[in-house]
């Protein structure tokens, strides 16, 4: 059974390695829509996948994963917005955990928008 003692060990390990991330302009942001529409369409695993993927690649200092409410395009949920400083916002639609991994790899790391997942490529 897990106990808080284990959490203590994690803290000891992390302490020092955690620089307080500045809420800054250089931080890339991944924002997942977590309103009723998003949650019903599968936003929870998408949020988890983004967080896992960012962590796996050691990007937690440079990339912030956060949530927002409904942005009014419920039919395209789960919707994810990616903000890269100095670039236009990119809106990804009908996201899944698998697509999230690809967005981190190609867009966040590689700098190339995954066009086929964007709202522009999916809007009818």
């Amino acid at each position: 059974m897990k106990s808080l003692a284990e959490l203590q060990a994690i803290k000891e390990k992390m302490k020092g390695s955690i620089g307080l991330r500045e809420e800054d302009k250089n931080c890339k942001r991944i924002v997942v829509g977590m309103a009723t529409c998003g949650i019903a369409a599968g936003a929870r695993p998408v949020l988890t996948a983004f967080a896992d993927e960012v962590a796996k690649r050691g990007l937690t200092q440079d990339v912030m994963v956060s949530q927002t409410g409904c942005i009014g395009i419920c039919q395209y949920e789960p919707v994810v917005e990616v903000f890269v400083p100095g670039e236009q916002k990119v809106t990804y639609v009908k996201m899944t955990a698998e697509k999230a991994a690809r967005v981190v790899e190609e867009h966040i790391v590689g700098g190339n928008v995954v066009k086929e997942y964007t709202i522009g490529a999916n809007a009818k």
Binding site: M1, K2, L4, E6, L7, Q8, I10, K11, K13, M14, K15, I18, M34, A35, T36, C37, I39, A40, R44, P45, L47, T48, A51, D52, A55, K56, T60, V65, S66, Q67, G69, C70, I71, G72, C74
Partner: protein
């Protein structure tokens, strides 16, 4: 919604938006009495009577970008279709308590689903809100309290991947332990 844990995530989002600093999530299962109770209780801004009267109406929302608000109606429906009852109490400045009951063995009761994922999602993205989650099965219970986690962590954020993994396993293992079986 396919799982009650998703309804809980959704209802708790309302608490975050209401500026709650503390949200209590209570799940109580009593198999002998064939009952299940889920409550989400917050200390947020609360609502006046007129607003409270309208929140179960799907065509009421505080938003202006669209005309429907389905979170509360979905949860109410989930409860009522499983032979349960739904209630919501609130007062301005005091907070809101949403409570739903279910017949445990009702074929239309949705599975609880992945509460560990719901709890982790909540604490990952809301540093300003604490979540106390108590899960009781046939009188045996455990609690996950983000205030306790924070006290141990001394500034290491709850969104830290290792911390998230710890919390997820903590909830899964404790749930199995008190239910005497597999994590749902």
């Amino acid at each position: 919604m396919q799982e009650l844990s998703l309804n809980i995530l959704d209802i708790a989002q309302n608490s975050i938006k209401a500026g709650a600093t503390l949200v209590r999530i209570e799940i109580e299962i009593d198999r002998a009495k064939n009952g299940m109770r889920i409550a989400v209780i917050d200390n947020g801004c609360g609502m006046d009577e007129a607003t409270l009267a309208r929140v179960v109406d799907p065509f009421y929302t505080t938003r202006t970008t669209r005309k429907v608000g389905l979170g509360v109606p979905f949860f109410k429906m989930a409860s009522e279709m499983a032979g349960g009852q739904f209630s919501i109490r609130s007062a301005p400045g005091e907070g809101t308590a949403v409570e739903a009951t279910f017949q445990w063995d009702n074929v239309d009761r949705m599975p609880l689903g992945d509460m560990a994922a719901t709890y982790c999602s909540l604490v990952m993205v809301s540093e300003g809100t604490d979540f106390v989650y108590t899960h009781t099965v046939d009188g045996r219970s455990f609690t996950a309290d983000s205030r306790e986690f924070r006290a141990v962590l001394e500034g290491v954020p709850l969104s830290t991947p290792d911390v998230q993994a710890f919390i997820r396993d903590y909830i899964r293992e404790n749930t199995e332990e008190i239910s005497g079986g597999a994590y749902e």
